[in-house]
């Protein structure tokens, strides 16, 4: 499956409802000036994929993901990612009948995480199973290279490199 559209509202520097649509099935690029919000879009994808280590999205706690930490009248951060799931043999387990899958994650200041799959409330474990069944484990990601981290693999000790292969095996 691949991303078709991302909708961010109240997430980091995306205060107002921002729809990023028309993703290419193959090669998409994001550019813009320093501080304009490029990495924040990648953070929003990790957010929906269920990231738990918030340092990976440059936050100390969930509240920091809300626009101005909730100090500017916006009290929740919502991100929805709509996936094209038309390739049945590459579908997440149990979703073969859904040509489109929308996963939403929301945090409310002072509240907790909330997940939705195709508009229905879902448990974090359901979301985790969905993504793990297509090799997207954002908490042990082989598909994600964050800013400034590209060469960290060269500083790994030999046993660490071996376990990286074990993950893939």
């Amino acid at each position: 499956m691949h991303i078709k559209e991302i909708c961010l509202e109240g997430f980091k520097s995306y205060a107002t409802r921002t729809v990023v649509s028309g993703f290419d099935p193959h090669f998409n690029a994001i550019t813009g000036l320093n501080g304009s919000g490029k990495s924040n879009i990648l953070d929003s994808i990790c957010f929906v994929l269920g990231i738990t280590n918030l340092q990976q999205v440059r936050a100390a706690n969930l509240q920091e993901l809300v626009y101005k930490q909730g100090q500017a009248g916006i009290t929740k951060a919502t991100v929805s990612v709509t996936f094209d799931n038309s390739e049945r043999n590459r579908s997440p387990l149990g979703y073969e009948e859904h040509p489109e899958i929308t996963v939403t994650r929301q945090i409310v200041v002072g509240g907790r995480n909330k997940y939705l799959i195709n508009g229905k409330l879902a448990q974090p474990s359901q979301v985790q199973n969905l993504f793990h069944s297509v090799q997207l484990n954002v908490n042990n990601p082989h598909f994600l290279i964050m800013q400034g981290r590209i060469t960290k693999v060269l500083n790994m000790k030999p046993p660490e490199i071996l376990s990286m292969l074990e993950e893939a095996a």
Binding site: F23, F27, C46, K157
Partner: protein, 152 residues
Amino acid sequence: KKETLKVTWVKVNQDFGSIFSTLLPGTMAKLEPPEGGSFLDGLEVRVAFGKVLKQSLSELSGGQRSLLALSLILALLLFKPAPLYILDEVDAALDLSHTQNIGRMIKAHFPHSQFIVVSLKEGMFNNANVLFRTKFVDGVSTVQRTVTKQTK
């Protein structure tokens, strides 16, 4: 299980070497066990420029290190594909020609996965099919989409 790991190593090694030599002609890269050990003790990255294996990676330049790391990561991705890849400024240390090579490699050799690549360099994002431009306007981030005219 040990056997599966060995098979993984052989295949990843092959792709690692082939990707690196494509990006930097005349070089060779591989993963091998540390001196006097077996692969179960761990694997080290070794490179050769020309025929001579280097003792360590320390003398490599910033751009060469980026290309080496990218080659290993892409080799792992070839072995265990994911539906989507997220790369944030992996070309920061690369000159124009290497940046273009990475962009072209993504286009040509990884057709079955979706890439979302952040880059400040035209040499990279000119290879994309769709380009999103972020802009900070009145204190908030905004995004605009453009379609890149692609010639094959």
